[in-house]
């Protein structure tokens, strides 16, 4: 099945998700890469498979009080609270900046209500340069950050159906791991018209300062990310791949090429890198180079030949 190639050959890295052609399967996870420009001094944005923006809402959003982050064992908790410039300012200023790059831009968004989801999607629908929308139904950090839509399959189905009607762009739905059976929400999103699924968003967590006896985050509860959550994410991606026909984007604790490969082998068509961007702004470039090297060493001519090749 895997065709051996000579070592010096350049393996094919391009993948396709919901009709979007990506140079390689590596893209940032929403909320860890700003609007792209923050990382432009450190990383060639044209080298990425895609750029995924910070989550946008209809109106600008203030976010939570501080402290908003804290480090935990091999991970971090965050409760930023979806601070963002709002969809209109994004289109006017941030998208104008991103248009200079050839990399597809995937715009992450959320709403407080179904109608808000629909309205944000509609405003982005005719914006040139937006390759796809990623609908966040999984933020754990705000009361109406979409998690209600992510944990109740009926609400998920209704919200995704409504957004589906308001956009002609490819629609990716981002799922939460904080559910009993992720296959149910995954199927609900697929049945409602999602073109792809991305997972996982952060796991809810909490940390306490034992001296002050206060929570380490002002929001008390936050989302756990980083290497600590990777095995959980790999398991959930494996389960979702079994349950749906649409392509899946794997997310969770990826900081090296080997981590990305685990997700591809269980069946993810692409992956998102999150917390690792904070640790090393050049992390995604290192991962892309590592994937190419792995393919050369293992004699894999095309990265697609690795996807979904889990041996059971």
């Amino acid at each position: 099945m895997i065709k051996p190639v000579k070592n010096e050959m350049q393996p094919k890295m391009a993948v396709e998700i919901a009709g979007i052609k990506l140079k390689n399967p590596i893209m940032p996870a929403s909320g860890t890469f700003g609007y792209g420009e923050e990382y432009a001094p450190y990383l060639d944005l044209n080298s990425l498979g895609a750029i995924v923006t910070k989550g946008l809402s209809l109106k600008p959003k203030a976010g939570n009080n501080t402290p908003r982050i804290c480090e935990t064992v091999s991970g971090m908790l965050n409760a930023i609270g979806l601070q963002n410039v709002g969809v209109d300012a994004f289109i006017k200023y941030k998208m104008a900046y991103l248009e200079q790059y050839s990399t597809p831009v995937i715009v992450n968004f959320f709403g407080n209500t179904q109608d808000e989801y629909g309205e944000v999607a509609a405003r982005l629908d005719d914006v040139p340069g937006v390759a796809a929308l990623e609908m966040n139904i999984s933020c754990p950090n705000v009361k109406h950050g979409g998690i209600i839509f992510g944990t109740d399959p009926r609400a998920a189905f209704a919200a995704v159906s409504l957004v589906r009607k308001r956009t002609s762009k490819p629609l990716i739905v981002k799922l939460t791991p904080n559910v009993t059976d992720i296959q149910i929400t995954a199927r609900a999103a697929e049945d409602a018209g999602a073109d792809a699924l991305s997972l996982i968003n952060t796991l809810t967590g909490m940390a306490v300062d034992v001296k002050t006896r206060k929570p380490r985050l002002a929001n008390i509860i936050g989302g756990l990310s980083g290497p600590a959550i990777r095995p959980i994410a790999v398991r959930l991606v494996h389960q979702v791949v079994q349950a749906v026909k649409v392509p899946v984007i794997g997310i969770g604790g990826i900081s090296r090429a080997m981590d990305a490969l685990e997700f591809l082998i269980v069946g993810a068509r692409a992956v998102q890198v999150g917390t690792a961007n904070f640790v090393d702004p050049n992390a995604m470039a290192t991962i892309i180079a590592g994937l190419e090297e792995f393919c050369r060493e293992e004699g894999v001519a095309d990265i697609n030949d690795l996807i979904g090749t889990l041996e059971l």
Binding site: E38, P41, T66, P67, R68, I80, N277, F278, V279, P281
Partner: protein
Amino acid sequence: MKNLKTIVLSNQEISPGYFRMKILAPGYNNTAKPGQFVMFRVQRSLPPLLRRPFGIFRAGFMPADCDSMQPKEFIELIYKVVGSGTEIMQRLHQGDPVELLGPLGEGFDLGVAEEEKILVGGGIGLVPLYMLAERMVETSRVRLLMGGRTRDDIIMVTEFERLGVETYVSTEDGSLGEGGMITQVLKRKLDKFPKSTVFACGPMPMIDAVQKICFERGTPLQVSLEALMACGVGACLGCVVKGAGHTEVEPRYLCTCTSGPVFNAENLDWNKIEVTVVGSGGCK
């Protein structure tokens, strides 16, 4: 600006719990501005996962070993051992690999030449004031007011004196210099030299007290803030502080990493200030 994989040149304890680390840093001598910081990675393995921000104490260079070689540029960090990251940091030796991202952030505005300057440093908050003093002594009269809980928290005063800075020390327990808070000294100095500009860095209660004193007198004030940061480049939004005019409806959050760490006091919302104090490596 890029991530620099480099090595430690030296690492010494200068006062109980306080260390001074010299790091090889090509390119920093001409680019690092007073008040800027680096995101420091203490080792490639975990823990810690995230880098930590440290204010740059000083940038400089060592003469070349022989004619054909380039001078070796370095930066110095001064840090207090407060947690797992700084625990690892204190055990590093010459030649150990570390990573620097920087120089980052908006530094101090040097202000008008010839006018009197007062620096207020609380404990490890003294760190970013040194480079500032280095630049300002060329054109201005500079006074340093250094405060700490005990004498162990009073560091680097001699280095400031060598620059020609007049220094005044106070400790809360009276073990060195005047007993009490450094803010008492600030009030006296401002009574005597009311035309001064103030530059402050230290624990948040001190910064807050300094702000009140300066605000009442209309004294220009720049503060260097410290905050928990994941990225240092404006992406994670973990380090935000409320800017002047902030409301829930029209939020005006400023990233400490990119809009700061040095702020003009008038640009911040002092009613709701809630920056998290970490206390490891100078203001940033």
